[in-house]
Symmetry: C3
Subunit: 468 residues, 3 copies
């Protein structure tokens, strides 16, 4: 079975650890003596292989990092840099393009402006597909670099205090990163620009899928020295069963747990992860800069809390990160870029099975039930399933996720979540509002985006007519 | 002498057979165990060579197939993907560009929007030039793939029933293909979309240059089972001298021969070659889709006639080929794309003389007389000779082709044919209407596009003044 | 210390000679038997290295020549051909882009539309940077090719008569070339199109920095046979101390020296270097072709003076060079293009230190004092320091150059020269008009672009108030 990397969840924690160990090996064997974070020279591991980059959206940096990694592995590269030079201009679908290109290359790196597009590519490919960014969805190799940088600079990810600055709403690197941080037990401290906080679907998923616990403002003051101007911190217990030990008081809001962190647990910030405003994801009408965008510079870093903070940035930066930090020892963003090569070398070697002990035979299993009827739709307008060209062949699929008081349909492609208004069961042909608590999802479940859909499917209201 | 591949006629049948045999060798030695049609790994044959792609028109697929082939041969690649990044933007001519690039690469693959442009490149190059598509003219490596696919899937090309679907008017792949099919003795069954039949110059050339015989509708009913909704089938006798045996009755229309095919000769279609509407070649004013464009899908293929038809497509497809066929065993279009790599490997190896027994020392000789005076012009507005930049240095050249009742000038570059209104001989300085039957073209022939040209050249009318 | 090639002055004469000797070696070992000027095959010198091309301005020719050179050296290539695919579109600065890319490649070739931009790249890189053209500033590898071609065709550069045709004002290749010719002792004979003469800053620099001596029209007639329609010839004595011997009479204009050249010294032109009109550098309002642009063709070359002239051109040509010369033995422009590969191979091998004896440990030292206060500005609107994005981090720097009667500030990046209106000394806090003769520039010098700047800096006028 071919393995892909479309979202960071396509790798288990132990697979990620194995990739990082191989990264360490590459750096130990091949780094420049004067720049230990930078790969030099080449080995011959991938001498028989070709990597293709298929970028429907402009990028030099990301493309070069993959191509450099492939060359450092002794491999060969087909390079497609420009959205307009692809067959998409002639109306070709993602599935067709991939099924042609898999004949020309042994591994394909895809960037696409539509969320979920790279999952479509992976579904149709029999060579490994790597997501180099799909719209506002994910950018998992950036996350691997980020996690590796933290681990390399700090020795561990466990209980690390990682502060996230800037546009946490639109930055796909941030979304992948918070899931990764949660999975490895780092503490997540969001510091968004006004109006650019983590999207609700991300925070809900942090809690539900990654066992993360939000520590609210009131509980934070006692564990920090002085004022700590954040609203919430996300903490992950070591193991799910520790969750009950860990949490203190459960409030009626159901989502907010009271947590007692160790004394001074947040006194030092281990890393500041700064991101730029993702202008290209904003609606054209957005009056940019209405609110001042936060800037991290030497002045800001004077606070005792940041004395040993690694300052990270996925780059490119615009104005949000002062040039005066560049020569400061805490600035690791260029190192972070340099780690991109050995990390991607390790990933490629793993996916091509050149290094056969890294990845398991099958991807991590999804815990959720898959629903593929047309009675619901993905409501994300930027989802690949919204493209007319892809609708020719693509049938929608959803994971049915159990929330406390209802079912949620999560698009298999863009992972956007929607709450259907009504649910039913095909065995009974009855429907009801989506207000039930479920422990397990029955196999004959039916999801309806509205009552009309249920009626159109010839379903009857459960017990009596529902008042809408 | 350097060999090029600009049109499929630049190779003899036996050279094509040799290329296909080498393709078989590459597939036998280097294919993926689980995908016998797909090349994997690399050899080192072209380790000392550089291939450059020079694409004045966007394409990822074709470019990647050449570059992949070069990498699989152990060679190296210079890649130019984007029309705007070439010196053409500064006004450079094709001849100059090629004479610079031949210093940088050992073989050059050219795609150009103008018909005949790649022939110009080949005239000025001292390294092999490969045509990757020149406007609506030819795309000979696609034809090699198509023929190889047919031969691989069916064992032979001889007497194969090949049905051509869709836009047969504008598709350059189709034009090269019909010549190739005729040369190898396959039967050509055109099934064009309404208004998109084979151009007259293609059918005339099929008959004249490739000894093809059209079997008309009336003669078809008896050799098919049931209704056979085509207007004509083109058949090639084994050898030119069989033509008389083969044909039955000659009608006064001169072009239509009555032919008796074996009983049930057309009962089974061996291959359906489907093509998309070439929107980019249509005039902007064309109201697309006025007539429904034919669709080949599972429903269509239910007919007994198609039970063992290989369904082919040069890709990309749009709507003309149903996605429901993708998993059907008859769908070979992705295989067809995969054969592109070993076929191009064999071609490159032959042109670079890495495999020295494949190609002869000189190209197949043209049987026609070459005329290079300015008294006629190529009337094809998309011909490279119509480009102002190329007129700086390019002098027109024509093959003088003998038709039954007149001479035809075929542009050496775009191969568009024009019938001059008047002809003359420079020895006599006389001209007359182009209505004569010729057995041989005299060396002092003069062609005039109109009477004014003849008079301007100081020619006198033969015998008496011609009435126009 | 990392060495770069941003301007031709980054190499000493003896380093250039060493690069040319290595070029000879590559040509001797690796040229095609039938084309001795053309490299074929590959060696393995750069097998461990990656070269990246970063082109913010379109070019296929120059990019391919670098990439071909790297492949011929056995190296590997990352290719960025298109301005729109770079992170610059997201607002990234040159310094940031380079500090990321240096992690992916071992040597970086940069083309940029802004003058001085490649110097910025070199300042921030810890891998070698090669300038492949920065606006109208320099194109030093073209100059290396040009000088190598002259040396190869003529055996020496010393006392060679080199005539420069066409647009000498905007052609960056011409500017680098005249400095190179002067340094190696060739005679420079400008033959500009009307209104497209060498810029004054170039001629002043020829005289000041390269010890060049202009021979005026009146002195030329006696050393040529017949009429010689040029206004001035630039001649360089062998060594600076010969200058006094060499020159004859010094006129009061101070800049014009009378020189006696050997009899018939200019009777034969050794090389005609033809250039196209640089339309892309003209203001949009320029009515092109108001004056006829000179054309070099066979008719022109009939003059006895050009009987053995090598005709050179950096290409691409438009109309200024007749196609009728192409087959003439004097036409060396395609050879000139072919030498681009071995010359660049030698340069890359030198910069990567694969061939360690070519370059010294440090670049040639600048003889001028560096001034980096904000009291003057570069007045070149196309200078990289005028870009808002680069002003975020870039502080201006100037070489203070002593002219006869004033100080000149030369921008370290674009090398544009400006004469400040006022000067002062920070020790005295006094300022005065920039009319003094200086032998040495004091370390506390202050330059003011106008009087207001001096006053704003709290300086007092020297002795009495200056009347403006």
């Amino acid at each position: 079975m071919v393995r892909h990397l479309v979202t960071i969840d396509d790798l288990t924690e132990s697979e990620i650890e194995s990739i990082f160990s191989l990264t360490d090996v590459f750096l130990a064997e091949m780094s420049r003596p004067d720049k230990p974070h930078r790969i030099s020279g080449r080995n011959t591991l991938a001498n028989d292989f070709i990597l293709a980059t298929l970028f429907y959206e402009a990028s030099t940096r990301t493309r070069f990092s993959f191509e450099s990694a492939m060359h450092r592995l002794g491999g060969h590269v087909l390079s497609s840099a420009d959205p307009k030079t692809t067959s998409a201009a002639k109306g070709e679908t993602i599935a067709d393009t991939i099924r042609v290109l898999e004949n020309y290359a042994d591994v394909i790196v895809v960037r696409h402006p539509c969320e979920g597009a790279v999952r479509v590519a992976a579904e149709y490919a029999d060579v490994p597909i790597i997501n180099a960014g799909d719209g506002g969805h994910e950018h998992p190799t950036q996350t691997l670099c980020d996690l590796y940088t933290l681990r390399r600079e700090k020795g561990t990810l466990k209980n690390l205090n990682v502060m996230l600055w800037g546009d946490l709403k639109n930055g796909r690197t941030v979304h992948s990163l918070v899931y990764g941080l949660a999975r490895f037990g780092a503490r997540i401290i969001p510091q968004p620009a006004e109006g650019f906080g983590l999207p609700e679907h991300v925070t809900r998923r942090l809690l539900r899928d990654y066992n993360c616990v939000p520590v609210a403002k009131d509980d934070l003051q006692e564990v920090t020295e002085g004022q700590f101007p954040v609203d919430v911190v996300y903490v992950t217990p070591d193991k799910p069963h520790q969750r009950s030990l860990f949490s203190d008081v459960k409030e009626k809001g159901a989502d907010v747990l009271r947590v007692r962190l160790p004394h001074n647990a947040l006194a030092k910030i281990d890393a500041c992860y700064v991101t730029r405003l993702q202008k290209e994801r904003l609606p054209a009408s957005a009056s940019e800069g209405a609110e001042p965008y936060p800037v991290v510079d030497l002045e800001f870093l004077k606070d005792r809390r940041y004395r040993q903070s690694s300052v990270m940035h996925p780059l490119p930066r615009v104005d949000e990160l002062g040039y005066d930090i560049d020569t400061d020892a805490r600035a690791v963003y260029f190192k972070q870029a340099s780690y991109g090569v050995p990390v991607r070398m390790a990933l490629i070697a793993a996916l091509l099975n050149i290094k056969p002990e890294i990845l398991g035979a099958t991807p991590p299993q999804k815990k959720h039930f898959v629903y593929s009827r047309q009675t619901v739709q993905c409501t994300n307008p930027r989802c690949v399933t919204a493209l007319e060209s892809e609708q020719r062949y693509l049938s929608p699929k959803y994971l049915v996720v159990v929330e406390d008081a209802h079912l949620v349909s999560r698009c298999v492609y863009c992972e956007h979540e929607t709450v259907p208004e009504f649910v039913g069961r095909s065995s009974t042909k009855k429907y009801e509002p989506n207000h039930m608590r479920w422990d397990n999802v029955p196999e004959d479940i039916m999801l309806f985006q509205d009552e009309a859909s249920a009626i159109a499917a010839a379903f009857q209201p459960y017990k009596q007519k529902i008042k809408v």
